[in-house]
Symmetry: C2
Subunit: 474 residues, 2 copies
Amino acid sequence: MSRADDWVEAEFFRSALTREAGATSDLLSWLRRKNEEIAAQVEEIPLTELRKWRIDPHRGDITHESGRFFAIEGIRVETDWGKVPRWEQPIINQPEIGYLGILAKRLHGVMHFLMQAKIEPGNLNKVQLSPTLQATKSNYTQVHKGTRPRYLEYFNGEKPGRVLLDQLQSEQGARFLRKRNRNIIVEVSADEDVPISDDFRWMTLGQIKDLMRHDNVVNMDTRSVISGIPFGSHSTELLKYLSALSSGDQVNTHLMNSFLNGELHLNDFPGILSWLTELKCRYELQVKRIPLRSVSNWVNTGERIQHEHHRYFSVVGVRVSIRNREVVTWDQPMIKPAQEGLMAFIVKRINGIHHFLVQAKLESGNFDILELAPTVQCLTGNYRTGQNEYSVPFLGEVLQAPAERIWYSAMQSEEGGRFFEEQNRNMIVEVGNEFPVRVPANYCWMTLNQLHTFMMFNNYLNIAARSLIAAVSF
Amino acid sequence: MSRADDWVEAEFFRSALTREAGATSDLLSWLRRKNEEIAAQVEEIPLTELRKWRIDPHRGDITHESGRFFAIEGIRVETDWGKVPRWEQPIINQPEIGYLGILAKRLHGVMHFLMQAKIEPGNLNKVQLSPTLQATKSNYTQVHKGTRPRYLEYFNGEKPGRVLLDQLQSEQGARFLRKRNRNIIVEVSADEDVPISDDFRWMTLGQIKDLMRHDNVVNMDTRSVISGIPFGSHSTELLKYLSALSSGDQVNTHLMNSFLNGELHLNDFPGILSWLTELKCRYELQVKRIPLRSVSNWVNTGERIQHEHHRYFSVVGVRVSIRNREVVTWDQPMIKPAQEGLMAFIVKRINGIHHFLVQAKLESGNFDILELAPTVQCLTGNYRTGQNEYSVPFLGEVLQAPAERIWYSAMQSEEGGRFFEEQNRNMIVEVGNEFPVRVPANYCWMTLNQLHTFMMFNNYLNIAARSLIAAVSF
């Protein structure tokens, strides 16, 4: 089995290595300018005053009067995973599969991706770098005959294109009930004349990854799609690159090896599958939908719905007004975090290959009990003061890592259509010999090649893990 | 990524090729003798008379008074797949993951599997060939401290062993609500002294596959586990076997090529994944649990629950009495089919490789909307007279296949613990040049190698497809 044609993997890899001097600051200026051209007001209002949204008098569930978009409902969770055996919480129910599509095209022989400067009400920085197409299934299939999303014709088969990646991936399991998106990359021929407006720019994968080093610039949907891009399972391109590296590039050699389908991994793939099967059998997750108004330990203040101890998040109402050429306004409920979170991978060199320490993590909205998560993921827990329900393993190694061991550290936003100014610290930290190879039962060392193999199949890696993998660069 | 060590795949392959003269008839005599030693009475009784089972006065659901085992409930299904947009039906709800384990050991250098002659009340032939271990999660984890299942110590880590295969796989999606089993093969060292009673026999994979050519001898659980056994993704063993084949063995060459990870397949793997992602996005499946007594178009006669036109299946009560050394009796509800069904793969040689025509099929209890199914699967439809809700594609090609094109045809039982004398015709039929390569959108040609890759991940192939793949022999 190949994950993509070798040719395609080599093209992806070349694009990841291609950067032009000044490109990042040009793109940042463009995004800043797009931000200035748009006036956006996002104002918190009481849930009871949301226009076109309805609070069910019996259940308390919040739904749109059209029955479309999404709903805020309640769930009761019972599980033997972790230290909290039972809880209730509000959750977003959005059964439709969303489409996240990126158009690709070779310019001057290098694969470029068509990215959008897109405003979303919950975004810090308001305008962030987004995929070519973000559409609901109704948009995509044009069931409701609304405004046709731009570039739809390249994704629905109307215009010819070659599918390079096509995966169903999960969103935040602690906030969404089994929500999934179709992550898709379609390449058009190099002679195809794709008309683009000033909201769109072609860029290389290397440029996107560079932008990810800045806080809250690349949106979650983009990070999700590009995380699935595989490199060099048998790519001669990559091997050539490897052999050309000077000895000063040792770190890169170990990283490149992690992308290869080699024999030097710590755990073979059937062994990793057995590890995950065992855990999925060991733990149970029962999720029952309950009326939002009956969710224990949560209070509806009339203004908003919040945890009785102001923990986790609250459900707030917002009134959005965006003025570009015309003015668009709407109201909607959003999820507002109680504080920021941390998601971090610990990486260690084992057998000359960088291995990522992966956690099998249960979240209430997971499609299949457990998903592969970063080493540390405390989405909205109070990690700074340690005032959590339970201590978070490996937190110290991440927070106290010396600067030279930190591969990556940036604040990244959750999806700005549902989350109100939610940002989390994303980190990748390398540990040394002092860090043991032997890890607790819920953790497993994997190479990037192994993680990419899981990504081809649905619902294995959670969004936090994917967001971090998207940031890995050369 | 490798699906198993090359070494293991070669061992599996050698075991599949190993048969001894007379072995099949010896094993059949043994099973016949075990059958004669046991006196089993299975008598249909009214549901209202089931001892230790309870019919909920409000919902009508049938549950065991302990709250354990399984329940018969109702569901309402809404979908845009197929021609029936909405229906209601009874369904088995058994949320626990079952364990299906086979112990393996090398005897005289060849991998053997420890199989059990096991009686189950619903079985035609009563005693069928079963895995070493069939256990519920409670049995397995010994939560209820019941009788300890034999050989448990090899599967729960108490005794050392090497896990060769470990997969979560689905059961009948039209009868079970998201039921899954852990399919596991554990190899013990060749010097391990495993005590066996007369109910157990060591046999090669070739011998098990030979027994599958007989009607209702190898039970569904065995077929499920051995279907996951991969052969020769890069196996030098298999290549050696291939090159030794004489020209008279052409069919085998094309079949062997289908097991290899080659370049000659019609569809590459990323393309197949995209085909499936597209279909999972296109179709919706909404399943709502409803009280059994409110299920439309089904009647509770007091004796049994049946479809108003006597279609599909009925829920009946049975009283079981099994006398071996002692007498064991119990009552339980079972699913009794209205008539037999057909599950068949069409195989065609494309590029010198046998390709299987796979259907993406929606069934009400599916974990993830669609699973990969045989070309033809009409579980309990009236396929003989064509009196179905809809015509079944490719039915003619299967039913009118000339004898020399039929690779495999046998009646096989569904799981005898839940299904009352349910048997379905299992067939693999090869088609020739006249059969088009181009197929309808819900169908896709795949090699056995590609099917085995899907099998490593959960819930891709349905039990009907796996049952047929288990029958493929050399």
